[in-house]
Structure formats: structure tokens, C-alpha cells
């Protein structure tokens, strides 16, 4: 994907629309320098630079000369997010104002994120406006982040029919090829032969065989960072079939995989000094004569036996084999991302991923960088007293917490059993979807938590 939302910074266009971010406090200053005609226009429209507002201002010939857009101090990454779609098709824009490199880079990133459209199945008849790449901006970074996020959004938005386990693994192959990473794919029966029984069991009912993608990249001696993403390409619930309302959006149940793939792509493009590993268990949770059943018992890769309390708690099952494998090389940092529980949405709503972490320092870093990059996440506890809620009757664990409540916590406690002591681990329970459009975040598939994670990882492994 190329970033066609930007025009090369060498481009000079005298007709370019001037975009002027202005804070509520800075509006008076702008007004004092504006022409009488412009000032009147701004006053007439009651433009007060309140959040997410913008105002187009005409020149004498009736063309759009300037767009005043509300921003904050420091500037929100999403300040310009509405503009690419809102300004006239094909228009070229130029950012004006004195911004430092960080700020202008953030603004450009918001522009790119707001330019995203999913047009695989129909062409949009309106081309988004384009921005002359601000010369001060770190465009390499903007493109690495924005293109990775847009890739992830595409993966989530693509209907399950066209985004099965094979296609999801192909997406991993695509980023691996671009960065000369190594990729191993274990497919179907081979999952049993190579001892990934849980992934196979969950995925065996689909005519599209389950897979595990295992990608490695970077200096083998660098600190090991391992990402795991839940790739349930469609979740019917299995024999514990979901009702229509619950099943409708289940093409997004590989949102964790999409987020992990996006983060991996960023890490490789920005060449972070880590040895990266990406593990994506890719399955479809289907109904068939050979579907796994409630109260079946699976012996997992780690050897822990799991009783199936509910076939619709399948995400933690495929993750448990991947996490066990991830721990086999004792990574310095282990992160998994998953659209795992409805309880996490009840806990924090659609916009804020819940995360769990066995390392307080790491948790504090994650929260701080999430906040700093406007990619907020919120920590929930691995509450020890709830471990009894996931005990099996005939096996060591049950995959469905008995409750009452605390479904996101019991899912995390389940995963915790497959992470080795001493491995710094964070688990993200995300929505993977924007229920409504917001600036820079169009309705539909979304990659969550990873901009903050990228900054956290950059900070953690910054060379001295």
C-alpha cells in the first residue's frame, strides 16, 4: 500500500488549501491577524475551536482558502482526522503553523489514519483530500505506522469468506517478505504432529484447516519480543452456537491477530533493535460433525488438561498453545492481543482495551505510553482469588469461568497458566472495532493498543 493521502513535499501548489490548526486559547491571536472578512466569517459561524470542529473560510473568489481546525495543546493526533474525507474530492492541502517535529508528525499521522477507506468491494466515489507532506514531519514513521494500521483494518474489515486461516497467514507472509523475516506455517494435521493439539481441536470442524504462523525477524542476539494474536477468522461459537446478534460481527474475531500483525509490521519497518517473533494461531470456530464438544477434555501443548466448559470460549484455547510455545525460548517480553471477552467490553466499553500484566513496572509503562499516544488502555487485575473459578471438574482447568462475573479476569487467569514464571507478559483484551466513526477512526475494523505498545517497546529497548 502506498500513502496516496500525501503529496510529495516538493510539490508547490498555489491553490492548496491552507490548514491551520488552532487551539481555543489561540483563536484570538489568529483572529487578530486575520483579515476583516475572514474574522467576520469565523464570528458568524460561532467557531470556537471546540473539539473536533473545523471551519472552511473562503477567499474573495469563493474558493476555500483556509481551513481552521480545532486542536489542543499538545496537539491531539486526531486533530486533522476528519478533514481528508470532509474536504472537497481531490483537493490538495498544506499544513500551516509552527510545530515541532513530534507534533507535526502526530498531525500527519492523524491525517493518514483519517484517509483510510475500505474499498475492496466497492469503489468510493469521492477521493479523499491529500496533504502536502509537511517537510518537518518524520514521514517515514508516519507511513510505517499508518500503513500498518490500515493493513490491520483491512484484515478485520474483510469478510470471513475472504479472510480465512489461509488468507490470514498470507497476510503474515506478506509482511514477512517485505522485511525478509523467516516464516514457518504449520497447517492442519501437522498441528497434531508438532504438538499444537488445542489449536487443531478448535479449528478442526471447519473445511478451512487451522494453521499456526510463526514468524521471526531481527538480530538473534537482540532482546526477544514475542507477539501473539488471536486469529479466529470467524467465530460461530461452535456447538455452543452464538445467537444472531452475537454472531453478526464475528468476522472481527481475528482482530487480535490483525493488531499483532500491524505491530510486528511497525517494529520491522522501523527496525527496532529487538529479535521479534510473531505467533498467529489462525482457525475458524465452526460447527460440524467433528466439532469439539462441551465437557471434552484437551491435553494442551503445555501438558495442562483443559475441560471445555463452553466451545465459545475458544480464543483462550488457541492462545494457550501459542503462549506455551512462545515461552519455550523465554522471551524478554511477551504480549498477546485478542478479541477475547464480552466482559472486557462491559468493563471498559468499546474504546478502551483491558490489559492484564504480571509485571507492575511493565504495566505502568504500557499505561503511560498508551495515554501519551492517545491509544488508551486500562489495567485490570489478575485477581488470585478468582483462580478457583477456572478449575475443571475432571481436568486441571475449565475454559469457561464459573463466575459470578469477572469474565475478562478469568480468561486472563486462564492464559496466565500457560505463561512461564519470570516472563514479563501482558495480555490485551480488545474490541477490534469502532462502533461509530470518530476523527481518524472510521467505523468498522480497528487496530487497538498498538500505537502505545510501539512507543513502549521503542522506549524499553532504546539503545543507550
Amino acid at each position: 500500500m502506498s500513502m496516496d493521502c500525501f503529496v510529495d513535499s516538493a510539490h508547490s501548489d498555489e491553490n492548496a488549501i491552507v490548514i491551520t490548526p488552532v487551539t481555543r486559547e489561540g483563536l484570538d491571536d489568529w483572529m487578530s491577524r486575520a483579515s476583516g472578512q475572514q474574522g467576520r466569517w469565523v464570528k458568524e459561524h460561532d467557531f470556537e475551536a471546540s473539539p473536533a470542529r473545523f471551519l472552511t473560510i473562503p477567499d474573495e473568489s469563493g474558493r476555500i482558502a483556509t481551513v481552521l481546525v480545532a486542536t489542543t495543546d499538545p496537539a491531539s493526533v486526531f486533530s486533522l482526522g476528519d478533514l481528508p474525507a470532509a474536504l472537497p474530492a481531490g483537493s490538495v492541502c498544506r499544513l500551516e503553523g509552527n510545530f515541532d517535529v513530534l507534533t507535526v508528525t502526530r498531525l500527519a499521522l492523524g491525517w493518514a489514519l483519517g484517509s483510510y477507506r475500505f474499498d475492496r468491494y466497492r469503489k468510493n466515489n469521492k477521493e479523499p483530500a491529500r496533504l502536502i507532506a509537511p517537510p518537518e514531519a518524520n514521514m517515514e514513521r508516519v507511513q510505517a505506522i499508518a500503513e500498518s494500521i490500515c493493513l490491520g483494518r483491512d484484515l478485520v474489515n474483510t469478510p470471513a469468506e475472504d479472510m480465512g486461516p489461509q488468507e490470514l497467514v498470507e497476510a503474515v507472509a506478506q509482511i514477512a517478505a517485505a522485511a525478509a523475516a523467516e516464516l514457518r506455517v504449520i497447517e492442519g494435521q501437522d498441528l497434531l504432529d508438532q504438538n499444537f493439539p488445542t489449536i487443531h481441536t478448535v479449528g478442526r470442524a471447519s473445511h478451512r484447516p487451522p494453521r499456526l504462523a510463526d514468524m521471526t525477524w531481527g538480530d538473534p542476539d537482540a532482546p526477544k519480543v514475542t507477539l501473539v494474536g488471536k486469529g479466529v477468522c470467524f467465530d460461530s461459537g461452535g456447538l455452543d452456537l452464538k445467537p444472531a446478534a452475537g454472531m453478526k460481527m464475528m468476522k472481527k474475531d481475528m482482530g487480535g491477530a490483525a493488531s499483532a500483525i500491524a505491530l510486528a509490521a511497525m517494529i520491522m519497518r522501523l527496525k527496532l533493535p529487538v529479535r521479534l517473533r510473531l505467533l498467529i494461531p489462525a482457525v475458524e470456530n465452526s460447527v460440524s460433525g467433528n466439532a469439539f464438544r462441551p465437557l471434552d477434555v484437551i491435553t494442551t501443548r503445555k501438558g495442562i488438561t483443559v475441560e471445555i466448559g463452553n466451545t465459545d470460549a475458544e480464543g483462550r484455547l488457541i492462545l494457550c498453545d501459542a503462549l506455551a510455545e512462545a515461552c519455550s525460548e523465554t522471551p524478554d517480553l511477551l504480549i498477546d492481543l485478542a478479541t477475547l471477552t464480552g466482559a472486557a467490553r462491559v468493563a471498559l466499553g468499546p474504546d478502551i482495551p483491558a490489559f492484564f500484566c504480571n509485571d507492575d513496572k511493565l504495566a505502568a509503562d504500557i499505561a503511560e505510553h498508551g495515554k501519551g499516544s492517545e491509544d488508551d488502555v486500562w489495567r485490570l487485575p489478575l485477581w488470585p482469588a478468582y483462580r478457583k473459578m477456572i478449575e475443571g471438574d475432571v481436568a486441571e482447568l475449565n475454559n469457561a469461568g464459573t463466575g459470578p462475573g469477572a469474565g475478562a479476569i478469568t480468561a486472563a487467569l486462564f492464559l496466565e497458566r500457560f505463561v512461564d514464571d519470570g516472563v514479563s507478559w501482558a495480555h490485551f483484551d480488545i474490541m477490534g472495532w469502532n462502533l461509530s466513526g470518530k476523527p481518524g477512526r472510521p467505523k468498522g475494523g480497528e487496530v487497538m493498543a498498538v500505537r502505545g505498545l510501539l512507543e513502549m517497546i521503542e522506549q524499553r529497548y532504546r539503545k543507550a
Binding site: V346, G349, P381, Y386, P404, I409
Partner: protein
Amino acid sequence: MALPGFSETGDDAIPLVVIDKAGLSVWLDDQPARVATWLRRTGFDGETGSWRAIPAVDGDIAMVIAGRNEGDALWSLAGLPMGLPEGLVFALEAGVSGAEDICLGWACGSYAFDRYRPAKRQPASLAWPDGVDRAQVTAMGEAMALGRDLVNTPAENMGPLELAAAAQQLAEHNSAEVKVCVGESLLTEGYPAVHAVGRASSRIPRLIDLKWGGKGAPRVTLVGKGVCFDTGGLNLKNAAGMERMKKDMGGAACVLAVASMVMQRELPIQLRVLIPAVDNAVDGNALRPMDIVTTRKGLKIEIGDTDAEGRVVLADALAAAVEEEPDLVIDMATLTGAARVAMGPDLPACFGSDDALANELCDAGAAKDDPLWPFPLVGAYRGHMASDLADTNTIADLPFADHIQAALFLQQFVGETTPWLHIDTFCWNPSARPGRPKGGEIQGARAVFELLCRRYGKTSDD
């Protein structure tokens, strides 16, 4: 008043030895071989919460040994009062660490709700250990028992009148003043939302207003949700959801428990307790969905669901609380199912007007084995409660995070300037654990008391 489960004298008491798992073998080195044999044969390994009676040669109980993890003092021995034989007195070794926590756990574990039938048994007694602040333990233990009794009492016997009577009794005991605004007076004295929610019941609604403490001290106002029974109103709950709704005054029980601790321990604050006490009932005059209520603050609220009534009665109480600009307002409420879905039964959700304040409360709770978990007041979710006709709806158009939405709703009545904590609590033990019998529970009260002690000059261990 004597606290159940304690004995004034340790004469003839049976020794109670507390060990941690790692220390068991060292302890056994000094014991006769038959003690080690007995403990081994009966599978005692010093696990926290486990205990064994050790026989004397004549068959009497020579001593009791109990396992405890360091740092787990409160609950590790709390199963003993109802586990050891009744009628006997036990005595801790002199100088055992965490004796005061052990005593409070013992007090909580001695609790039984015996209003409707005699208790199955009496607790075994613990001789007051030397050096333990009996007044402190007694104040905490009595406050917990008071609160549990209020929650456990069936709604028929714990209506708005009886809840007010409980507050009056507590006030009398501590020389506090209490004023109760009853029925129609709620309309003339500016509590229209409390009246609107409670008007359908044959038991008229009330606003309880308790004041205690010297002028000039920092002002702390506690607000407790006192919905004595919550049918849901016209948006009637189903049977499963209605079953436990006698506990919907749990927030009121919690703030009365905190008030009891504060007054008994004479914390140097000016305390005010506000409790809207109502039944959420069904009747011809019941509040209806999409009715609009003008609240005390003047904000007009559209009733999205009559079963979101707690936030409505709290709205008036919080508005009244902030009028006198207290230093701190804390409300406690069994407010949302979402908080339980999110956190399960053990962890009340807490919200603060700033993150630091919420973290301060959570730290205080963690220090006192009364855990809470902080949640964010997510600004981006504010828009979901917009009303077509009024200033705000009472519920959100978003099927998620109702506890956050409820907290955002309440924040509108607190305003920007008053430091405020909101606790969304469960007040119920779905199953019994040591020191925490099944049924009504007072969650968050000890955390709040510890926070108040830390802020206002005394530690709760003083």
C-alpha cells in the same frame, strides 16, 4: 458492648499457635514427637487458613496450631471462631505479629445473623491479646456487624423507616444529630428525584441527614444508596434479578458502617452522612420510562429505565452534599450489574474526581485487605447519555460499561470542584469464606476509613 467471639480473661485458655508454612518444621523441633506425628498423620502442612487441634495425653485439646502467610493476617485465622469447638477460650502466644488483624478477622468470623432463628452455634472465644487496641477492634467489628445486619434483614423489616431508625440509633449512640426529611417534605425541601423514585411505595421515601463532629475540622460527606427494595419499578426485574434486591441499600449500610468507625474512633473530621432511603416499587403513580424529573440541582433528567433508580436518588443527595463545599465527598452504592460483570463479587469498582484520589483509596484498601479497583471516567463516553428532551438521560445508548456511564451521570451532580470518590459495590458474599459468611457484606468501608485516617491525621491502628 462486648464483641462476640472474645473473652476478657485468658485464664485456662487453650494456646493458639500461629505459624507460617516455612516455619513449621522449626517449630516442630521443639515439640514432643507425638505432636509432629499427629500433624503429619492429619496432613497439616501449615497452609494459610488450615488448623489442627493437638491432643493432650488425656484427650483434651492441648493447643491449636493454625497456618498463616506473612502479610495475610486478616482472614487466615478468621475461619477458626466457627470452626473450633464452641464454649472454649483460646489465647494467642504473647507477641504474635499482626495480633490486631487476627482479632478483627476473628470478630468478622464470629458474625452470625440470628434475627429470625437462633444461631446454629456460638463462636469459640479468643482471649483479648495483650497490647491489642480493643477499642479499635471493637469499633471495626461492631461496624461490620451493624452493616451486615442491615443488608441481611429482609426488605419487609428494613424499609425506608427502619433504615432511618438505624441511622437514628447510631446517631444517638454517638451523640450525632440526625434529621430525616420524610415523604412530601422531600418536595418542599428540594429532593424531588428522591421523592419521584420512592413515591410508588406504601412505605414513603426519606432523606436521612446525619451530622457529627466539631466545627472547623475538615468536612467529609458520605452518601449511601438506600434502595430498601428494588423491584426495578415499571421496568420490572425478572425473578433472578430481583431475588437479592433487599441488598440494594448496601451502599447505605456501608456508609453507616464507616460513620460508626469514624465516630467510635473520634476521627477529627466534620462528618455528614446523606442517605436517600426509598423503595423502588410498582404502583399506579410509579415513575415511568421517559418521564422527566427536575432534580435538586436543576438539571432535568429523562428516565431511560426505571431500574436505573440508584443514580437518580444519589443525584439529589450528591447535589446537597456539594452545596456546603466539603473537603471530600464519597458515595457508595450497589449501583450496576456491569461493575459485577467486570470485576466479579470481590472487587468493588471505584472512580475518583482525579486518578490520584482513586489510587489513594485503592492503596488504602489494599493495605487493609478491603480491595477495590480503579476505573476511568471516560470522557469519550459522555455523549452516549444525551437526552432528546432533557439535560441528560439516566442511561446510555451503549450496551457497555454501564458502571462508567453511571459514574459519569453522577459526576454531573458533583461538579468540577469537589474532590469526590464513587464506589460501585456488591455488598454480598455469594459463597462463604473465612471471616466472610455467605450473605450481606460491607465492602469498601474499611478502605474508606483507612483513607480518612491517612488523610486526616490518625492512622487506623492508633
